[in-house]
Amino acid sequence: MRPLDALAKVCGDVRPGEPAEGVLGVEPALVAAPKDVAEAADVMRVAAEAGLAVVPRGAETRLDWGAPPERCDLLVDTHRLDAVVEHVSGDLVVKAQAGLPMERLGEVLAEKGQRLALDVPLPGSTVGGTIATGAAGPLRFQYGTPRDLVIGLTVVRADGRVARSGGKVVKNVAGYDLGRLFCGSYGTLGLIVDATFRLHPVPTARAWVSSPVGDAGEAYEAVQSVLRSAVAPAAVEYTGPGTVTVLLEGVPDGVAARVGQTVALLGDGTQVSEVAPDGWGLYPEGNTLIDVTAPPTALPHLLTAADGPTVTWSGRGHGHVGLPGDMSPSGVAEFLRALRAALTPHKGTAVVRYAPREVRGDIDFWGPLPALALMRRVKDQFDPDHRLSPGRFVGGI
């Protein structure tokens, strides 16, 4: 039986792929959109039997991240897996399917005064894609990234079996935490079908305190003064060129008092707003995006290597750099080399998320990978035939 027919027997939405659906130019032979977990499992089982290379797809907001797949026989589209399975507000947990858009999840939670404390840097992105890429924004300062908020995960393995880890309680140390392992795994270990998250109450008051800073040294001092203080920010962001913004969340009286303390720390020219400044939580512009991680003291070196409208930095040690479209491939490669050199003394990393096709061949997306051998061994266990998003991830995984 042809794979299309075999898939059509187990899934109601299967069709040939179209050129426009290419994953970084690699056209999928087939596209399947399972309607529930059971169908997703059947699709993955049939794909295993036919030896198909499978790439998961959510809302395509980050499908251009990482390297192109070596091949793509089947795109598994999660858009029909879009249910809020269970929201127990009294327990501050929600279980949602992978294809659910993050904003829609946010709306459902907001009805009960709750939120998933993750920013959505790319509008439209899904729960599954957010986990698979480990995506987060400024709130990572206080709440971390998906790895810190996922408390249960359901995946379909390469062989089509459904596996769960964690659960629906926040405090739980039974078994390995596969949720953390799948965060940022780029679809190379299995198909994420649903996730359970820890939630937080929506704060009743928020304020953004922004202050201009003159140079790298001033930026560093401003961020450090906030880190050392007791104002307990939800986020501290440097946005280039030359602005430090502190987000304060809490009860109205508390936020008002902390705004006063923060203004005193940051000094002249400080502005206070109850709405987010333009561009808050979005990735910087450009058609190459670099994700930077380094300890807070690396900030001056980062800003010496790269500053301008396309640099953002979260105070605990994570930033983004966008590079303009008119930069030559060799220019991008040279920039990346210099950036990594500046970060190396801090044990920092610079990972390219996306870059134009003409640049891709000239650069190393990931940088040094000290634990690559172990990663390959884990990959070999989960996907012995290397059929899941082959080649998309570190070291050609």
Partner: protein, 482 residues
């Protein structure tokens, strides 16, 4: 086997020096159990390394001989996670106690695995920082053990677990190689799965922990209620109001009685339950929310509320709670400390069922719990001199775990699975779930020599095992009696 172990001991002594390898049976018995004393096995060999390189060399020796090994920090674990193997090597990290760096500008510290949890806080406190995970054993437990168990504590309701406070671990892999796993490095989040793997994926030799800014203010109250139900209603109301306390702890009448007998904590007489609520953070935030918590407790029927005026009074409020486990010894000759989790909203139903279980079986159960996150620590009391009493207590203790699973909870919130609860794992997870978790194990440790017999009730066969292995398969070893 014994002669093979003797030969191995000689080689380890050559690696480490004479004082750091223990083979004397009397001294070996010191290490026969961890904090869970009903599982015991005298280790074949105990080694006391000083460096990561020594641990790597020890692991390489074990790997080449096919000898199982277990890492142990302070031995305070409550699930038998550090239970040694009679046919193996116990690697004790207690000599590796250096705090290598306290880096305030980067809000982190680098420590060796044997460093005591509270010592990290002691080192950082003068500069206004602390290490947030605070298991009850924090005065003696090691950071390496915290990593293995993903330790929590009373304040993890707000601050999270060890996994949220570890930025990197240097690890000796089961191949005997040293590798650093960083949360932020590109690639798979191997650190994320290493933390909490109960020492089955390797041995950590250096840990970079996040330091947390000491909050500007802390407020603690004790509220006394007629019943557990009323206390539970107060917890629900506090959570529903959008307050995230640093801790919410509850004790029932029996555990209050025990604490009173042991430490004279002078909780309000006649209380059917006491609630301890602690808020911390910026002063103006805490002031506003604390007033609300107090009101919610009164609305839920609190007949007495005490507010700690300063550190001494706060310590007094916590004294009863912190001593609760040991205090039960005052009212019962023996007891089992259970650790289960339920969704917070199931609290009233589950407590009613525990009451019923206790009444039906005649086994007394004292309840102490982290009420904010639904983590129950029922203390199941029995008289070990009475024939059959321990078995009845075990049965009640197991039935409580079944209740937790039935309500969508977990068989362990912080004590870990270890050897103690491996048999309960199939009640919470399917065979496929457990098989999938063990794929990670097979990736790290295909020979299954690193802390075998823990977490999983049955090992997964990992396919072809690289390298030469002498001696019997670890799972056929003579210590495999659990």
């Amino acid at each position: 086997m014994e002669t093979e172990l003797q030969a191995l001991a000689l080689r380890l002594e050559a690696l480490l020096g004479p004082g750091q390898v223990i083979t004397d049976p009397v001294r070996l018995r010191t290490y026969e159990c961890d904090g869970l004393t009903n599982h015991r096995a005298s280790p074949g060999i105990v080694v006391l390394p000083d460096t990561a390189e020594q641990i790597a060399a020890i692991v390489r020796e074990c790997a080449s001989e096919g000898v199982p090994y277990v890492a142990r920090g302070s031995g305070t674990g409550l699930s038998g996670g550090a239970l040694p193997r009679a046919d193996g090597v116990l690697i004790v990290t207690s000599r590796m106690r250096r705090i290598l760096e306290v880096d305030v500008a980067n809000q982190r510290a680098v420590v060796e695995p044997g460093v005591i949890n509270l010592d990290v806080t002691r080192a950082a406190r003068p500069q206004g920082y602390y290490f947030a995970p605070d298991p009850s054993s924090q005065q003696i437990c090691s950071v390496g053990g915290n990593v293995a168990e993903n330790s929590g504590g009373a304040h993890c309701l707000k601050y999270g677990f060890t996994a949220h406070h570890v930025l990197a671990c240097e690890v000796v892999t089961p191949d005997g190689e040293l590798v650093e796993l960083c949360a932020d490095d590109p690639g798979y989040d191997l650190l994320g799965v290493f933390v909490g793997a109960e020492g089955t994926l390797g041995i950590t030799t250096k840990i970079t922990v996040r330091l947390t800014r000491v909050p500007e203010t802390v407020e603690t109250l004790l509220a006394a209620f007629d019943s557990i139900e009323a206390g539970g209603a107060a917890v629900s109301a506090i959570i529903a109001a959008g307050v995230v306390p640093a801790a919410i702890e509850m004790m029932d009448a029996l555990s209050i009685e025990a604490a009173e007998a042991a430490v004279r904590c002078e909780y309000p007489p006649g209380a059917g339950a006491v609630l301890i609520v602690e808020l911390d953070g910026p002063e103006p935030e805490v002031a506003a929310q604390f007033a609300e918590v107090e009101r919610l407790c009164r609305d839920a029927g609190a007949f007495e509320i005490r507010i700690a005026a300063g550190e001494a009074e706060r310590a007094l409020i916590w004294k009863g709670r912190k001593s609760a486990f040991a205090a039960v010894g005052r009212i019962s000759p023996a007891y089992i400390v259970q650790d289960g989790v339920i969704p917070r909203t199931s609290l009233p139903r589950v407590l009613a069922r525990i009451d019923a279980l206790s009444a039906e079986s005649g086994v007394r159960v004292a309840n102490v719990f982290h009420a904010g996150d639904g983590n129950l620590h029922p203390l199941v009391l029995f008289d070990d001199a009475e024939p059959g009493a321990e078995e009845r207590a075990e049965a009640v203790s197991g039935a409580i775990l079944d209740l937790c699973i039935e309500h969508g909870g977990s068989i362990t919130g912080e004590h870990g699975v270890g050897v103690d609860k491996a048999r309960y794992m199939p009640r919470m997870f399917t065979d496929t779930d457990l098989d999938t978790m063990q794929m990670v194990r097979c990736g790290f440790d295909p020979a299954g020599l690193c802390n075998p017999g823990k977490v999983f009730p049955t090992p997964r066969m990992c396919g072809e095992v690289p390298g030469v292995r002498k001696g019997p398969h670890p799972y056929e070893g003579k210590a495999d009696i659990f």
